[in-house]
Protein backbone atom coordinates (compact mmCIF):
# COMPACT_ATOMS: atom_id res chain seq x y z
CA UNK A 1 0.00 0.00 0.00
CA UNK A 2 2.49 2.63 1.21
CA UNK A 3 6.12 1.57 1.31
CA UNK A 4 9.12 3.74 2.11
CA UNK A 5 12.53 2.15 1.59
CA UNK A 6 15.63 4.03 2.77
CA UNK A 7 14.12 7.38 1.90
CA UNK A 8 16.24 10.53 2.13
CA UNK A 9 14.90 13.99 1.42
CA UNK A 10 17.15 17.03 1.31
CA UNK A 11 15.93 20.57 1.90
CA UNK A 12 16.51 22.79 -1.14
CA UNK A 13 18.84 24.97 0.94
CA UNK A 14 20.77 22.09 2.46
CA UNK A 15 20.17 19.83 5.42
CA UNK A 16 18.02 16.71 5.53
CA UNK A 17 14.27 16.68 6.04
CA UNK A 18 14.21 12.88 6.12
CA UNK A 19 17.07 10.53 6.94
CA UNK A 20 16.89 6.92 5.87
CA UNK A 21 13.19 6.38 6.58
CA UNK A 22 11.71 2.94 5.94
CA UNK A 23 8.26 1.62 6.82
CA UNK A 24 5.36 -0.21 5.30
CA UNK A 25 1.71 0.54 5.90
CA UNK A 26 -0.65 -2.23 4.86
CA UNK A 27 -4.08 -2.04 3.31
CA UNK A 28 -6.77 -1.09 5.82
CA UNK A 29 -4.29 -0.14 8.53
CA UNK A 30 -4.55 2.92 10.82
CA UNK A 31 -1.21 4.54 11.57
CA UNK A 32 -0.26 7.63 13.56
CA UNK A 33 2.67 9.67 12.40
CA UNK A 34 3.97 11.52 15.43
CA UNK A 35 6.82 13.84 16.32
CA UNK A 36 7.48 17.49 17.08
CA UNK A 37 6.86 20.21 14.54
CA UNK A 38 9.54 20.01 11.90
CA UNK A 39 10.24 16.34 12.62
CA UNK A 40 9.29 15.47 9.03
CA UNK A 41 5.66 14.32 9.34
CA UNK A 42 4.37 16.61 6.63
CA UNK A 43 7.30 15.73 4.39
CA UNK A 44 6.40 12.05 4.65
CA UNK A 45 2.82 12.82 3.65
CA UNK A 46 3.95 15.09 0.79
CA UNK A 47 6.06 12.24 -0.54
CA UNK A 48 3.02 9.98 -0.38
CA UNK A 49 0.84 12.32 -2.43
CA UNK A 50 3.74 13.15 -4.75
CA UNK A 51 3.96 16.82 -3.91
CA UNK A 52 7.65 16.15 -3.27
CA UNK A 53 10.04 13.58 -4.68
CA UNK A 54 12.54 11.71 -2.53
CA UNK A 55 16.18 12.72 -2.97
CA UNK A 56 17.05 9.06 -2.76
CA UNK A 57 15.34 5.85 -1.77
CA UNK A 58 12.04 4.46 -2.94
CA UNK A 59 8.48 5.52 -2.23
CA UNK A 60 5.69 3.24 -3.43
CA UNK A 61 2.05 4.19 -3.08
CA UNK A 62 -0.72 1.86 -4.25
CA UNK A 63 1.25 0.61 -7.22
CA UNK A 64 2.92 3.91 -8.18
CA UNK A 65 6.63 4.57 -7.80
CA UNK A 66 6.68 8.18 -6.61
CA UNK A 67 10.44 8.39 -7.12
CA UNK A 68 10.28 8.10 -10.89
CA UNK A 69 6.72 9.15 -11.51
CA UNK A 70 5.88 11.22 -14.57
CA UNK A 71 4.06 14.51 -13.83
CA UNK A 72 1.12 13.22 -15.85
CA UNK A 73 0.59 10.37 -13.42
CA UNK A 74 0.46 12.53 -10.29
CA UNK A 75 -3.27 13.42 -10.65
CA UNK A 76 -4.07 9.73 -11.14
CA UNK A 77 -2.31 8.83 -7.89
CA UNK A 78 -4.07 11.61 -6.01
CA UNK A 79 -7.48 10.37 -7.10
CA UNK A 80 -6.74 7.18 -5.20
CA UNK A 81 -5.90 9.12 -2.05
CA UNK A 82 -7.97 11.32 0.19
CA UNK A 83 -6.09 14.22 1.74
CA UNK A 84 -7.16 16.27 4.75
CA UNK A 85 -5.31 19.26 6.23
CA UNK A 86 -5.23 21.19 9.45
CA UNK A 87 -6.53 24.31 7.65
CA UNK A 88 -9.32 22.41 5.80
CA UNK A 89 -8.50 23.96 2.40
CA UNK A 90 -12.08 24.43 1.30
CA UNK A 91 -13.06 26.81 -1.48
CA UNK A 92 -14.70 29.73 0.32
CA UNK A 93 -17.01 30.68 -2.52
CA UNK A 94 -18.62 27.26 -2.84
CA UNK A 95 -21.11 25.48 -0.63
CA UNK A 96 -20.25 22.29 1.28
CA UNK A 97 -21.95 20.29 -1.44
CA UNK A 98 -20.08 22.09 -4.24
CA UNK A 99 -16.76 21.65 -2.45
CA UNK A 100 -17.29 17.91 -2.31
CA UNK A 101 -18.69 17.70 -5.85
CA UNK A 102 -15.63 19.55 -7.11
CA UNK A 103 -13.38 16.60 -6.24
CA UNK A 104 -15.57 14.37 -8.36
CA UNK A 105 -15.89 16.81 -11.25
CA UNK A 106 -12.14 17.11 -11.72
CA UNK A 107 -11.91 13.37 -12.22
CA UNK A 108 -14.43 13.57 -15.03
CA UNK A 109 -17.08 11.61 -13.12
CA UNK A 110 -20.46 11.28 -14.83
CA UNK A 111 -22.59 14.27 -13.85
CA UNK A 112 -25.69 12.22 -13.28
CA UNK A 113 -23.98 10.27 -10.50
CA UNK A 114 -22.30 13.20 -8.75
CA UNK A 115 -25.23 14.52 -6.69
CA UNK A 116 -26.04 11.14 -5.18
CA UNK A 117 -22.41 10.33 -4.35
CA UNK A 118 -21.91 13.75 -2.75
CA UNK A 119 -25.02 13.36 -0.63
CA UNK A 120 -23.90 9.92 0.48
CA UNK A 121 -20.54 11.11 1.83
CA UNK A 122 -22.06 14.22 3.41
CA UNK A 123 -24.47 11.90 5.23
CA UNK A 124 -21.56 9.69 6.24
CA UNK A 125 -19.80 12.64 7.92
CA UNK A 126 -23.06 13.85 9.47
CA UNK A 127 -23.46 17.04 7.47
CA UNK A 128 -26.29 16.26 5.06
CA UNK A 129 -28.38 19.01 6.64
CA UNK A 130 -25.72 21.62 5.93
CA UNK A 131 -25.03 20.77 2.31
CA UNK A 132 -25.98 24.27 1.18
CA UNK A 133 -23.89 26.10 3.78
CA UNK A 134 -20.74 28.00 2.84
CA UNK A 135 -17.53 27.27 4.79
CA UNK A 136 -17.76 30.58 6.70
CA UNK A 137 -21.15 29.50 8.02
CA UNK A 138 -19.73 26.27 9.47
CA UNK A 139 -17.78 25.62 12.66
CA UNK A 140 -14.19 24.35 12.46
CA UNK A 141 -15.27 20.80 13.17
CA UNK A 142 -17.94 20.99 10.47
CA UNK A 143 -15.51 22.41 7.96
CA UNK A 144 -13.14 19.55 8.65
CA UNK A 145 -16.00 17.12 8.11
CA UNK A 146 -16.66 18.70 4.71
CA UNK A 147 -12.96 18.30 3.91
CA UNK A 148 -13.14 14.64 4.98
CA UNK A 149 -16.24 14.15 2.84
CA UNK A 150 -14.34 15.61 -0.10
CA UNK A 151 -11.45 13.24 0.61
CA UNK A 152 -13.81 10.27 0.74
CA UNK A 153 -15.97 10.97 -2.27
CA UNK A 154 -13.52 9.34 -4.70
CA UNK A 155 -13.50 6.21 -2.54
CA UNK A 156 -9.80 6.31 -1.78
CA UNK A 157 -7.84 3.34 -0.51
CA UNK A 158 -5.82 5.61 1.79
CA UNK A 159 -6.85 8.71 3.70
CA UNK A 160 -3.96 11.03 4.57
CA UNK A 161 -4.64 13.47 7.38
CA UNK A 162 -2.07 16.14 8.26
CA UNK A 163 -2.87 17.39 11.80
CA UNK A 164 -6.61 17.17 11.05
CA UNK A 165 -7.51 18.19 14.61
CA UNK A 166 -4.85 20.87 15.00
CA UNK A 167 -7.34 23.74 14.68
CA UNK A 168 -10.21 22.17 16.57
CA UNK A 169 -11.43 22.32 20.15
CA UNK A 170 -11.57 19.17 22.26
CA UNK A 171 -15.11 18.22 21.43
CA UNK A 172 -14.68 18.68 17.69
CA UNK A 173 -11.39 16.81 17.88
CA UNK A 174 -13.10 13.79 19.42
CA UNK A 175 -15.82 13.90 16.78
CA UNK A 176 -13.40 14.12 13.84
CA UNK A 177 -11.16 11.42 15.29
CA UNK A 178 -14.15 9.11 15.75
CA UNK A 179 -15.11 9.78 12.15
CA UNK A 180 -11.62 8.79 10.99
CA UNK A 181 -11.85 5.60 13.06
CA UNK A 182 -15.21 4.77 11.47
CA UNK A 183 -13.76 5.35 8.03
CA UNK A 184 -10.89 3.02 8.87
CA UNK A 185 -13.33 0.43 10.20
CA UNK A 186 -15.01 0.35 6.81
CA UNK A 187 -11.71 -0.66 5.19
CA UNK A 188 -9.88 2.54 4.23
CA UNK A 189 -6.31 2.85 5.43
CA UNK A 190 -5.72 6.04 7.44
CA UNK A 191 -2.39 7.77 7.99
CA UNK A 192 -2.76 10.57 10.51
CA UNK A 193 0.03 12.97 11.35
CA UNK A 194 -0.48 14.49 14.78
CA UNK A 195 1.35 15.71 17.83
CA UNK A 196 -1.70 15.22 20.06
CA UNK A 197 -0.39 12.39 22.26
CA UNK A 198 -3.67 12.08 24.18
CA UNK A 199 -5.32 11.10 20.97
CA UNK A 200 -2.57 8.60 20.20
CA UNK A 201 -2.89 6.96 23.62
CA UNK A 202 -6.68 6.66 23.24
CA UNK A 203 -6.51 4.18 20.43
CA UNK A 204 -4.66 0.91 19.93
CA UNK A 205 -3.24 1.91 16.56
CA UNK A 206 0.21 1.72 15.16
CA UNK A 207 2.52 4.66 15.96
CA UNK A 208 5.41 5.80 13.78
CA UNK A 209 7.50 8.47 15.44
CA UNK A 210 9.88 10.81 13.68
CA UNK A 211 12.60 12.90 15.25
CA UNK A 212 14.58 15.41 13.22
CA UNK A 213 13.80 13.50 10.05
CA UNK A 214 14.70 10.07 11.35
CA UNK A 215 12.30 7.27 12.21
CA UNK A 216 12.95 6.63 15.92
CA UNK A 217 10.02 4.39 16.84
CA UNK A 218 7.60 2.16 14.98
CA UNK A 219 5.24 0.26 17.25
CA UNK A 220 4.71 -2.47 14.66
CA UNK A 221 8.43 -3.26 14.43
CA UNK A 222 9.50 -2.45 17.98
CA UNK A 223 6.69 -4.37 19.70
CA UNK A 224 7.43 -7.44 17.62
CA UNK A 225 11.06 -7.20 18.58
CA UNK A 226 10.15 -6.67 22.24
CA UNK A 227 7.90 -9.70 22.13
CA UNK A 228 10.61 -11.77 20.49
CA UNK A 229 13.11 -10.65 23.13
CA UNK A 230 10.74 -11.50 25.98
CA UNK A 231 11.51 -14.81 27.70
Amino acid sequence: MIKFTNVFKAFPKGGLALKDVSFHIAKGEFAFLTGHSGAGKSTVLKLVYADERPTSGEVRVSGYFVTEMRPREVPLLRRRLGIVFQDFRLLEDRTAEENVAFALEVTGARRSTIAARVMRVLTQVGLAAKAQAYPRELSGGEQQRVAIARALVNEPTVLLADEPTGNLDERATRGVFQLLRDINASGTAVVMATHDLDLVRQAPYRVIELQEGALVYDSAVDEQRDQAAAP
Partner: protein, 285 residues
Amino acid sequence: MNLVVRESLLAFKRAPLLSALSVTTIAFSLFVLGLFGLVAVNLQDALRSVEERVEVVAYLLPGTPIEATALGLKDIEAFPEVQLATYVSEDEALARARAELVEFRDVLRELERNPLPASIEVKLKPGFRDAAHVSTVAERLGGFGFVDDVRFGRDWVEKLDRLRQLAAAVGIVVGAAFAAVAIIIIGTTIRMAVLQRGREIAIMRLVGATDGFIRRPFLLQGAIKGLLGGVVAVALSFGAYALIDRYLIQAAFFTHEQAAAIVGFGALIGLLGSASSVGRHLKRV
Protein backbone atom coordinates in the same frame (compact mmCIF):
# COMPACT_ATOMS: atom_id res chain seq x y z
CA MET B 1 -23.69 22.47 -19.80
CA ASN B 2 -20.10 21.52 -20.34
CA LEU B 3 -18.04 21.68 -17.14
CA VAL B 4 -15.34 23.90 -18.65
CA VAL B 5 -17.92 26.42 -19.88
CA ARG B 6 -19.77 26.31 -16.58
CA GLU B 7 -16.61 26.83 -14.50
CA SER B 8 -15.54 29.70 -16.77
CA LEU B 9 -18.86 31.48 -16.48
CA LEU B 10 -19.13 30.83 -12.73
CA ALA B 11 -15.84 32.66 -12.23
CA PHE B 12 -17.57 35.83 -13.44
CA LYS B 13 -20.31 35.27 -10.88
CA ARG B 14 -17.92 34.39 -8.06
CA ALA B 15 -15.60 37.35 -8.60
CA PRO B 16 -17.81 39.93 -10.31
CA LEU B 17 -15.74 42.93 -9.27
CA LEU B 18 -12.41 41.55 -10.41
CA SER B 19 -13.95 40.28 -13.64
CA ALA B 20 -15.54 43.65 -14.38
CA LEU B 21 -12.25 45.32 -13.56
CA SER B 22 -10.30 43.11 -15.95
CA VAL B 23 -12.82 43.60 -18.74
CA THR B 24 -12.70 47.37 -18.20
CA THR B 25 -8.91 47.42 -18.19
CA ILE B 26 -8.81 45.34 -21.35
CA ALA B 27 -11.48 47.54 -22.94
CA PHE B 28 -9.58 50.75 -22.26
CA SER B 29 -6.23 49.47 -23.41
CA LEU B 30 -7.86 48.24 -26.62
CA PHE B 31 -9.76 51.53 -26.88
CA VAL B 32 -6.47 53.45 -26.96
CA LEU B 33 -5.29 51.09 -29.68
CA GLY B 34 -8.63 51.57 -31.42
CA LEU B 35 -8.33 55.36 -31.35
CA PHE B 36 -4.93 55.08 -32.95
CA GLY B 37 -6.45 52.72 -35.48
CA LEU B 38 -9.12 55.30 -36.29
CA VAL B 39 -6.46 57.94 -36.89
CA ALA B 40 -4.57 55.52 -39.12
CA VAL B 41 -7.67 54.55 -41.08
CA ASN B 42 -8.64 58.17 -41.67
CA LEU B 43 -5.11 59.21 -42.60
CA GLN B 44 -5.01 56.39 -45.09
CA ASP B 45 -8.33 57.52 -46.56
CA ALA B 46 -7.05 61.08 -46.88
CA LEU B 47 -3.84 59.92 -48.53
CA ARG B 48 -5.80 57.77 -50.95
CA SER B 49 -7.96 60.66 -52.07
CA VAL B 50 -4.83 62.76 -52.65
CA GLU B 51 -3.26 59.88 -54.55
CA GLU B 52 -6.21 59.72 -56.87
CA ARG B 53 -5.18 63.08 -58.25
CA VAL B 54 -1.84 61.74 -59.45
CA GLU B 55 -1.97 62.10 -63.24
CA VAL B 56 0.45 62.15 -66.13
CA VAL B 57 -0.38 64.44 -69.03
CA ALA B 58 1.20 63.97 -72.45
CA TYR B 59 0.84 67.07 -74.69
CA LEU B 60 0.64 66.19 -78.36
CA LEU B 61 2.43 67.88 -81.25
CA PRO B 62 0.10 70.14 -83.22
CA GLY B 63 -1.27 68.49 -86.33
CA THR B 64 -1.02 64.91 -85.09
CA PRO B 65 -3.45 62.85 -87.20
CA ILE B 66 -6.37 61.53 -85.21
CA GLU B 67 -5.67 57.93 -86.37
CA ALA B 68 -2.17 58.03 -84.91
CA THR B 69 -3.55 59.39 -81.66
CA ALA B 70 -6.21 56.69 -81.50
CA LEU B 71 -3.59 53.96 -81.99
CA GLY B 72 -1.33 55.54 -79.38
CA LEU B 73 -4.20 55.78 -76.94
CA LYS B 74 -4.80 52.04 -77.31
CA ASP B 75 -1.13 51.31 -76.61
CA ILE B 76 -1.13 53.52 -73.55
CA GLU B 77 -4.26 51.91 -72.16
CA ALA B 78 -2.50 48.58 -72.44
CA PHE B 79 0.31 49.68 -70.04
CA PRO B 80 0.05 47.56 -66.90
CA GLU B 81 0.18 50.66 -64.69
CA VAL B 82 -2.57 52.54 -66.48
CA GLN B 83 -6.09 52.69 -65.16
CA LEU B 84 -7.51 55.20 -67.64
CA ALA B 85 -6.17 57.20 -70.58
CA THR B 86 -8.32 60.03 -71.95
CA TYR B 87 -7.83 62.04 -75.13
CA VAL B 88 -8.46 65.75 -74.73
CA SER B 89 -8.71 67.62 -78.05
CA GLU B 90 -7.62 71.27 -78.55
CA ASP B 91 -11.24 72.45 -78.45
CA GLU B 92 -12.01 70.54 -75.31
CA ALA B 93 -8.88 71.97 -73.69
CA LEU B 94 -10.05 75.48 -74.54
CA ALA B 95 -13.57 74.86 -73.29
CA ARG B 96 -12.15 73.49 -70.05
CA ALA B 97 -9.85 76.47 -69.65
CA ARG B 98 -12.75 78.81 -70.17
CA ALA B 99 -14.82 77.03 -67.54
CA GLU B 100 -12.04 76.64 -64.99
CA LEU B 101 -10.04 79.86 -65.41
CA VAL B 102 -12.83 82.35 -64.89
CA GLU B 103 -10.37 85.23 -64.37
CA PHE B 104 -9.08 84.84 -67.93
CA ARG B 105 -12.47 84.38 -69.54
CA ASP B 106 -12.22 87.65 -71.48
CA VAL B 107 -8.73 86.95 -72.71
CA LEU B 108 -9.69 83.46 -73.79
CA ARG B 109 -12.79 84.68 -75.57
CA GLU B 110 -10.87 87.14 -77.71
CA LEU B 111 -8.37 84.64 -79.01
CA GLU B 112 -8.26 84.33 -82.78
CA ARG B 113 -6.48 81.00 -82.71
CA ASN B 114 -6.58 78.25 -80.04
CA PRO B 115 -3.10 78.16 -78.43
CA LEU B 116 -3.80 75.04 -76.37
CA PRO B 117 -2.42 71.67 -77.55
CA ALA B 118 -4.38 68.41 -77.52
CA SER B 119 -3.32 65.97 -74.80
CA ILE B 120 -3.70 62.48 -73.38
CA GLU B 121 -4.42 62.37 -69.64
CA VAL B 122 -3.29 59.19 -67.93
CA LYS B 123 -4.51 57.99 -64.55
CA LEU B 124 -2.62 55.18 -62.84
CA LYS B 125 -3.92 52.17 -61.01
CA PRO B 126 -3.74 52.20 -57.19
CA GLY B 127 -0.34 50.92 -56.11
CA PHE B 128 1.40 52.59 -59.09
CA ARG B 129 0.81 56.13 -57.91
CA ASP B 130 4.33 56.69 -56.59
CA ALA B 131 7.24 58.68 -58.00
CA ALA B 132 9.08 55.68 -59.47
CA HIS B 133 6.13 54.32 -61.45
CA VAL B 134 4.93 57.74 -62.49
CA SER B 135 8.39 58.55 -63.93
CA THR B 136 8.53 55.25 -65.83
CA VAL B 137 5.15 55.86 -67.37
CA ALA B 138 6.09 59.46 -68.18
CA GLU B 139 9.28 58.29 -69.87
CA ARG B 140 7.46 55.74 -71.93
CA LEU B 141 4.87 58.33 -72.98
CA GLY B 142 7.72 60.60 -74.08
CA GLY B 143 8.85 57.87 -76.48
CA PHE B 144 5.78 58.27 -78.70
CA GLY B 145 6.61 60.33 -81.79
CA PHE B 146 3.52 62.52 -81.54
CA VAL B 147 4.17 63.50 -77.92
CA ASP B 148 5.63 66.94 -77.48
CA ASP B 149 5.96 67.16 -73.70
CA VAL B 150 5.05 65.13 -70.58
CA ARG B 151 4.09 66.72 -67.27
CA PHE B 152 3.30 65.10 -63.94
CA GLY B 153 4.32 67.45 -61.14
CA ARG B 154 7.43 65.55 -60.07
CA ASP B 155 7.95 67.50 -56.84
CA TRP B 156 4.41 66.93 -55.75
CA VAL B 157 4.51 63.20 -56.42
CA GLU B 158 7.80 62.90 -54.57
CA LYS B 159 6.38 64.77 -51.57
CA LEU B 160 3.39 62.47 -51.59
CA ASP B 161 5.79 59.52 -51.60
CA ARG B 162 7.59 60.83 -48.55
CA LEU B 163 4.32 61.52 -46.76
CA ARG B 164 3.20 58.01 -47.45
CA GLN B 165 6.44 56.50 -46.15
CA LEU B 166 6.27 58.67 -43.05
CA ALA B 167 2.66 57.66 -42.40
CA ALA B 168 3.56 53.99 -42.79
CA ALA B 169 6.59 54.25 -40.48
CA VAL B 170 4.68 56.17 -37.81
CA GLY B 171 1.79 53.76 -38.15
CA ILE B 172 3.98 50.70 -37.67
CA VAL B 173 6.07 52.11 -34.81
CA VAL B 174 3.29 53.80 -32.86
CA GLY B 175 0.82 51.02 -33.63
CA ALA B 176 3.30 48.39 -32.42
CA ALA B 177 3.98 50.43 -29.28
CA PHE B 178 0.27 50.74 -28.51
CA ALA B 179 -0.26 47.07 -29.24
CA ALA B 180 2.66 46.16 -26.94
CA VAL B 181 1.24 48.30 -24.15
CA ALA B 182 -2.17 46.69 -24.63
CA ILE B 183 -0.60 43.23 -24.52
CA ILE B 184 1.32 44.04 -21.32
CA ILE B 185 -1.69 45.56 -19.56
CA ILE B 186 -4.03 42.77 -20.58
CA GLY B 187 -1.41 40.14 -19.67
CA THR B 188 -0.99 41.68 -16.21
CA THR B 189 -4.73 41.89 -15.67
CA ILE B 190 -5.21 38.26 -16.60
CA ARG B 191 -2.26 37.26 -14.44
CA MET B 192 -3.85 38.97 -11.44
CA ALA B 193 -6.99 36.94 -11.98
CA VAL B 194 -4.94 33.75 -12.05
CA LEU B 195 -2.93 34.66 -8.93
CA GLN B 196 -6.12 35.54 -7.10
CA ARG B 197 -7.21 31.97 -7.64
CA GLY B 198 -3.88 30.38 -6.72
CA ARG B 199 -5.40 28.72 -3.66
CA GLU B 200 -8.11 27.24 -5.78
CA ILE B 201 -5.56 25.92 -8.25
CA ALA B 202 -3.60 24.31 -5.40
CA ILE B 203 -6.76 22.63 -4.10
CA MET B 204 -7.69 21.42 -7.57
CA ARG B 205 -4.31 19.77 -7.84
CA LEU B 206 -4.67 18.12 -4.44
CA VAL B 207 -7.92 16.44 -5.41
CA GLY B 208 -6.36 15.10 -8.58
CA ALA B 209 -7.20 17.58 -11.32
CA THR B 210 -4.92 17.33 -14.34
CA ASP B 211 -3.10 20.45 -15.51
CA GLY B 212 -5.22 20.49 -18.65
CA PHE B 213 -8.40 20.39 -16.63
CA ILE B 214 -7.20 23.31 -14.50
CA ARG B 215 -6.02 25.28 -17.51
CA ARG B 216 -9.07 25.05 -19.78
CA PRO B 217 -11.53 27.21 -17.79
CA PHE B 218 -8.82 29.86 -17.39
CA LEU B 219 -8.15 29.91 -21.12
CA LEU B 220 -11.83 30.25 -21.92
CA GLN B 221 -12.26 32.96 -19.28
CA GLY B 222 -9.28 34.88 -20.64
CA ALA B 223 -10.69 34.66 -24.15
CA ILE B 224 -14.15 35.76 -22.98
CA LYS B 225 -12.70 38.71 -21.04
CA GLY B 226 -10.63 39.73 -24.05
CA LEU B 227 -13.65 39.38 -26.31
CA LEU B 228 -15.88 41.47 -24.05
CA GLY B 229 -13.10 44.04 -23.67
CA GLY B 230 -12.76 44.16 -27.45
CA VAL B 231 -16.50 44.68 -27.95
CA VAL B 232 -16.53 47.50 -25.38
CA ALA B 233 -13.43 49.02 -27.01
CA VAL B 234 -15.09 49.02 -30.44
CA ALA B 235 -18.22 50.58 -28.92
CA LEU B 236 -16.12 53.28 -27.23
CA SER B 237 -14.24 53.90 -30.47
CA PHE B 238 -17.55 54.25 -32.27
CA GLY B 239 -18.65 56.80 -29.67
CA ALA B 240 -15.44 58.74 -30.15
CA TYR B 241 -15.82 58.53 -33.92
CA ALA B 242 -19.43 59.75 -33.76
CA LEU B 243 -18.41 62.78 -31.68
CA ILE B 244 -15.48 63.63 -33.97
CA ASP B 245 -17.57 63.14 -37.08
CA ARG B 246 -20.29 65.39 -35.75
CA TYR B 247 -18.33 68.20 -34.12
CA LEU B 248 -14.84 68.20 -35.60
CA ILE B 249 -14.27 66.74 -39.04
CA GLN B 250 -15.96 64.28 -41.27
CA ALA B 251 -14.30 60.97 -40.57
CA ALA B 252 -14.48 57.28 -41.43
CA PHE B 253 -15.05 54.37 -39.05
CA PHE B 254 -13.59 50.86 -39.15
CA THR B 255 -14.91 48.40 -41.67
CA HIS B 256 -16.65 45.37 -40.20
CA GLU B 257 -13.49 43.34 -40.74
CA GLN B 258 -11.35 45.87 -38.90
CA ALA B 259 -13.78 46.02 -35.97
CA ALA B 260 -13.84 42.22 -35.85
CA ALA B 261 -10.02 42.24 -35.89
CA ILE B 262 -9.93 44.43 -32.76
CA VAL B 263 -12.32 42.11 -30.94
CA GLY B 264 -10.37 39.09 -32.14
CA PHE B 265 -7.11 40.69 -31.03
CA GLY B 266 -8.60 41.15 -27.55
CA ALA B 267 -9.76 37.55 -27.37
CA LEU B 268 -6.38 36.29 -28.61
CA ILE B 269 -4.39 38.28 -26.05
CA GLY B 270 -6.80 37.19 -23.32
CA LEU B 271 -6.28 33.58 -24.35
CA LEU B 272 -2.49 33.79 -24.67
CA GLY B 273 -2.20 35.83 -21.47
CA SER B 274 -4.11 33.17 -19.58
CA ALA B 275 -2.09 30.38 -21.16
CA SER B 276 1.21 31.91 -20.11
CA SER B 277 0.04 32.92 -16.60
CA VAL B 278 -1.52 29.58 -15.78
CA GLY B 279 1.40 27.75 -17.35
CA ARG B 280 3.86 29.64 -15.18
CA HIS B 281 1.69 29.16 -12.14
CA LEU B 282 1.31 25.43 -12.68
CA LYS B 283 5.03 25.02 -13.16
CA ARG B 284 5.77 26.88 -9.93
CA VAL B 285 3.29 25.17 -7.62
